[in-house]
């Protein structure tokens, strides 16, 4: 019984909050000044309740060291939830970003009149991510996944009068839809092969390498690989991420595509770490990882559109995460999960900063925003710090996760992974070139003609606070890596221990 209360407290605030936002927005239609604040406050209140509920679950999971399993009769097909440490880790990142973005959007979208749709979609998006991370079987996983995609489509298409947004959404929808169906086919094969959808149990059917089993895994990899933006399945991303409102881009790049990487670890991690699969899977993952980083970094190198540049850089980061997964060792998985945290902080922040630029001077072009930093030293400093941190220099957190990805790869002692590490280091060099361009243009360059004359720029506090929180967290992670790495490592350990062989 208490299980169902646990579930209720996690899902109800989000659901009812989302509805309440939409209804109250209609009620207060005429209070144009306060509309966006009202939506924001309800969203934040809902997030606060969610946070309390998640805190309770997390403390139980951490105290007992065992996942909370909530399920219907075992004979039924699906609908089980398994709240694991890994799920708590990922959903906490999503929650943190969602809260900051909700705060940011109050100011950012105030010009749009109503932000109700946006705030309620963020709530629903978070709930879907939560459902994915705590699902105990493939069907729940898939439903959560689809919910996440649907909310994301809505948010990409937020500027519904802009052709760019609609085109991007259609591409995203079709590609991601095909990806989902591919994954669903893979899931169907898993059920056919093993007779169960339970994530902890279906791996038993994979103890020996079978043609159907490997086909199922390939389909799941490709299917979820679309949303995870693994090259060459990433083609939708450079259109979709920039077209969305900036706070939404922060969520898309910061956590949604990383949920795809989470899916690989959660669903395939237990199987692929088996010795009989390693030789088969390691080269595939390593090649995909290296291809993804090269596509991302080389495309970002000559971008003038700041948000597109950031989107390409996210693809490159997926490559690094995938390389950690390619080790097929607990250390590599932990490093990847840790990288998800670090990347979420910084990429989230950079998109929010790009949003501030759009908010102030209405451009995404680096050429046009040149010299903005001279009008606002705070913005220049934040841009400088976050772009610097994204190149993986200490003392920021991203340094540690990149370092641990490299370390875990070299520890395996395979020639392919050694080569992949060298290529990753080359990629890090390429990324310095374009992130330094961002720093130079935004923080130091002479003001462009578009900027001349309008004095100093005053930025609303609500836009700055989330950015300061994010860079502070990145710095804290860099100084005390243990605090955020150890939970990730424990989570991976318990996930892999959960598979009963």
């Amino acid at each position: 019984m208490s299980d169902w209360i646990t579930l209720f407290t996690s899902f109800a605030p989000g659901f009812f909050g989302a509805f309440a936002i939409l209804i109250l927005d209609l009620v207060f239609k005429n209070r144009t000044k306060h509309r966006s604040a009202i939506s924001g406050v309800i969203a934040l209140a809902s997030f606060a309740l969610i946070a309390i509920s998640n805190w309770g679950q997390a403390s139980v999971v951490l105290a007992t060291g065992k996942p909370i399993v909530i399920g219907l009769e075992p004979s039924l097909l699906a609908t089980t939830f398994t709240i694991t440490e890994l799920g708590v880790y990922i959903s906490s990142i999503a929650l943190l970003l969602s809260i900051l973005i909700s705060i940011y959007s109050i100011a950012y979208l105030s010009k749009e009149g109503s932000t109700a749709l946006f705030q309620s979609l963020i709530l629903l998006l978070y709930l879907s991510i939560y459902a994915v991370t705590v699902s105990g079987d493939l069907l729940t996983f898939f439903i959560g996944w689809e919910g996440m995609s649907v909310a994301a489509y809505g948010l990409v298409a937020f500027y519904k009068h802009s052709w760019e947004a609609i085109e991007a959404t259609v591409k995203y929808l079709i590609m991601s839809g095909i990806g989902s169906l591919t994954a669903l086919y893979g899931i169907a094969l898993v059920y056919g092969l093993t007779g169960t959808l339970n994530i902890e149990n279906f791996v038993k059917g994979f103890a020996t390498v079978t043609p159907i089993g490997t086909l199922a895994m390939i389909l799941i990899f490709i299917g979820f690989g679309v949303e995870a933006a693994v090259a060459p399945l990433h083609m939708w991303l450079p259109d979709a991420h920039p077209a969305a409102p900036s706070p939404m881009s922060a969520l898309l790049s910061g956590i949604i595509i990383e949920v795809g990487s989470f899916a690989f670890i959660r669903l395939l991690g237990g199987i692929l770490t088996l010795p009989s699969y390693v030789a088969l899977a390691q080269p595939i993952l390593a090649v995909a990882a290296v291809a993804t980083m090269f596509v991302g970094n080389l495309s970002a190198l000559q971008q003038d559109d700041l948000k597109r540049l950031l989107a390409y850089s996210s693809i490159a980061q997926i490559g690094y995460i995938l390389l950690g997964i390619a080790t097929l060792t607990p250390a590599g998985f932990s490093a990847s999960i840790f990288h998800i945290w670090n990347h979420a902080l910084l990429k989230g922040m950079l998109f929010l900063l790009a949003g501030i630029v759009t908010f102030q001077i209405g451009t995404r072009s680096l050429t046009e925003m040149a010299g903005l930093g001279r009008k606002s030293p705070v913005l220049a400093a934040l841009f400088g710090l976050s772009a610097l941190a994204m190149t993986g220099v200490p003392p920021f957190g991203l340094f540690w996760s990149e370092f641990l990805i490299i370390l875990s790869n070299l520890a395996v002692g395979s020639i392919i992974l050694d080569a992949a590490v060298v290529l990753m280091l080359l990629n890090l060099l390429i990324s310095i070139a374009y992130y330094f361009r961002v720093i130079r243009v935004v923080a130091f360059a002479k003001p462009s003609s578009a900027l001349n004359g309008n004095g100093t720029v005053r930025i609303p506090k609500l836009l700055l606070v989330p950015c300061v929180v994010l860079i502070a967290l990145s710095l804290i992670t860099g100084l005390y890596p243990n605090m955020f790495y150890q939970p990730a490592a424990n989570a991976i350990k318990s996930i892999l221990a959960g598979f009963s062989w």
Binding site: A279, L298, L426, L428, I432, F444
Partner: protein, 588 residues
């Protein structure tokens, strides 16, 4: 006595001071002197460390960091670390004091002083680091600081380019260093210098892995210490303010590589391959850089190439594999730090009043700027290695140790470097301070720099004169067991080499008989050589065409993949499916 925790505060204090420096921006004078005071205190703490460890005992203090991997934050102070900390902080302090005058009229000083504090603090942290990982982290921070300080005048495109170049070129070395240290960790399960040293001496680490990781770490050291072929960033780094050049060349950045090799000596020096790699990298860099310095017109670039050359001598000394050579490299590091800081600050004093770096626009400055003249003269004499200046002692120690190790070819080559050094330094001295007064000097009616700038010059001048006599004390501090090598024939050869370099310099640039310009034009061989040297032997052009341009081309090609056409985007999905299925079928 109250415990000072000097081993922590000596590097943490500058970091802690940064927010206060930024907070004092309303009162610029207070802020600038606050920064100077902090570096002064850091210097006193460094001296305290030297006093604590001089009797041979070491301070080790550590806290847990990333427990899953057993990484700790460890400060380990021994003679070497304390010696380096004292060099870094004494020079850092003098340079920050000098900055009060030199940078006084600049804007962007909050950025300048925060970066300088970070730079000095990180460099001190680097030399006190007890393990590889911690050293690497400070190593990276030092790199960032240098890049941003070189690009301090960000309105000048060449300054920004030089900053980025410094960062990327040193990061190439850093990548090798990173692989090396991770490889060592994967093999031994430790990054601690002490533990690794013990394991290596007990033969626990396979020799092939020692050599390979040692070479990778050497590449990292070459990047930071600007050794050929990773030296290309250093001459361009002259685009930064002169105080920054002094910091980079004397107190911080470039010393890091030499220090790293010295620090890892107990680990790798059993590998003969590694030792000869270290030595030859040094010799080649010393020769190439010294030859380029003989033709450069920019006074700061002359000093920059001389830095590369002097660092090369330190690597050469490390290549001997003996304790004496090891000590010689560190003593020369200190010596180079002082006379190079002096050289840069003197050059800065000239640039400050004259506004140019081209030596053809200088000349005859001796009378108008007597203190600067003395300073530059002392720096040149020390650099050329004339007794009793500190450079004489340290360079002769290197040559003696090389000859003691029976590396006779290297001894000859170092003597040639010594000859070239004396040639180019006296060339600079004659061109800048002797001869008729230049037009520019007359038009601007220049005079000596303010006291806040000349005081550090005088202190440094006195230092290069007396520091040579601290050789015994330094050897004691660094725990040198054997007696220092000293051979009279070497001394004679070295003096002859200096004179052989000085004579043509005197003839050409003081007496103008023959006129150097005309002389080179008459000899096609010399003309070609001069052209090659002025182009830096083509390293820059090579890197630009091979790396930068080809990456830009590939990048354009990759962008063409992104058609934005949905139908085309779906094909790769099918292709991936087919490839993966084929891969599995072929491997089952």
């Amino acid at each position: 006595m109250i415990p000072l925790y000097a081993e922590w505060f000596v590097w943490a204090l500058p970091f802690i001071a940064i927010p206060f420096t930024l907070g004092l921006s309303q009162w610029p004078k207070a802020r600038d002197w606050f920064a100077a005071a902090i570096t002064g205190i850091a210097f006193l703490l460094a001296i305290d460390l030297v006093l604590e460890v001089q009797s041979g005992h070491t301070i080790t203090s550590s806290i847990s960091w990333l427990s899953a991997y057993g990484f700790t934050v460890t400060v380990h102070v021994d003679g070497l670390a304390a010696f380096l900390a004292a060099v870094v902080n004494s020079l850092g302090f003098l340079i920050v004091v000098y900055s009060q005058g030199y940078m006084g009229h600049e804007t962007g000083l909050p950025r300048y002083y925060s970066l300088v504090l970070l730079f000095i603090g990180a460099m001190t942290g680097l030399v006190l680091a007890g393990n590889f990982l911690q050293l690497y982290i400070f190593w990276e921070i030092v790199g960032i600081c240098s890049a941003f300080l070189i690009a301090f005048w960000y309105d000048r495109p060449e300054a920004v380019r030089a900053g980025l170049k410094a960062f990327i070129v040193t990061r190439v070395g850093d990548a090798a260093l990173l692989i090396g240290l991770v490889w060592l960790y994967v093999t031994t399960g430790s990054v601690d210098f002490q533990k690794l040293g013990t394991m290596a001496s007990q033969g626990f680490i396979p020799a092939s892995i020692l050599t390979a990781t040692g070479i990778l770490i050497l590449v990292g050291a070459m990047g930071k210490s600007a050794q050929v072929p990773l030296h290309v960033w250093l001459p361009d780094a002259m685009e930064g303010p002169t105080t920054v050049s002094a910091l980079i060349h004397a107190a911080t950045m470039v010393n890091a590589g030499v220090y790293l090799v010295a620090r890892t000596y107990p680990i790798f020096s059993s590998s003969q391959t590694w030792l000869s790699a270290v030595g030859w990298v040094g010799i080649i860099s010393a020769l190439l850089a010294a030859s380029i310095a003989t033709v450069t017109m920019d006074i700061k670039r002359v000093l920059a190439y001389s830095t590369i050359s002097q660092l090369g001598l330190m690597f050469a000394a490390l290549g001997t594999g003996t304790q004496g050579g090891w000590f010689a490299s560190q003593f020369h590091l200190m010596s180079q730090g002082f006379f190079k800081a002096l050289g840069f600050l003197a050059a800065g004093s000239i640039i400050h009043v004259l506004g140019t770096r081209n030596m053809d626009d200088m000349g005859g400055l001796r009378k108008r700027m007597p203190i600067t003249f003395i300073a530059f003269l002392f720096s040149a004499l020390a650099l050329a290695g004339i007794p009793p200046f500190v450079g004489f002692w340290s360079k002769d120690l290197i040559i003696s140790e090389l000859s003691l190790a029976n590396l006779n070819l290297q001894v000859v080559l170092v003597l040639i470097v010594s000859m070239l050094t004396s040639f180019y330094m006296f060339r600079a001295l004659f061109k800048v301070f002797f001869g008729p007064e230049s037009k520019m000097a007359q038009e601007k009616n220049i005079h000596e720099s303010p006291k806040v700038m000349t005081a550090p010059l005088l202190i440094l001048s006195a230092s290069v004169l007396v520091l040579g006599f601290t050789e015994g004390a330094a050897a004691n501090l660094l725990g040198l067991a054997e007696n220092l090598a000293f051979a009279l024939p070497i001394l004679g050869a070295s003096i002859v080499a200096i004179l052989v370099g000085l004579t043509p310099s005197y003839l050409a640039f003081y007496l103008h008989k023959p006129n150097p310009q005309a002389f080179v034009e008459q000899h096609p061989g010399l003309r070609g050589l001069r052209k090659a040297m002025l182009a830096g032997y083509g390293f820059d052009a090579l890197y630009l065409s091979v790396f930068a341009n080809s990456i830009a081309k590939i990048s354009s090609a990759v962008r063409r993949i992104q058609t934005g056409i949905l139908a085309k985007n779906l094909w790769p999905m099918l292709a991936v499916l087919v490839i993966l299925v084929l891969w599995v079928v072929l491997n089952l």
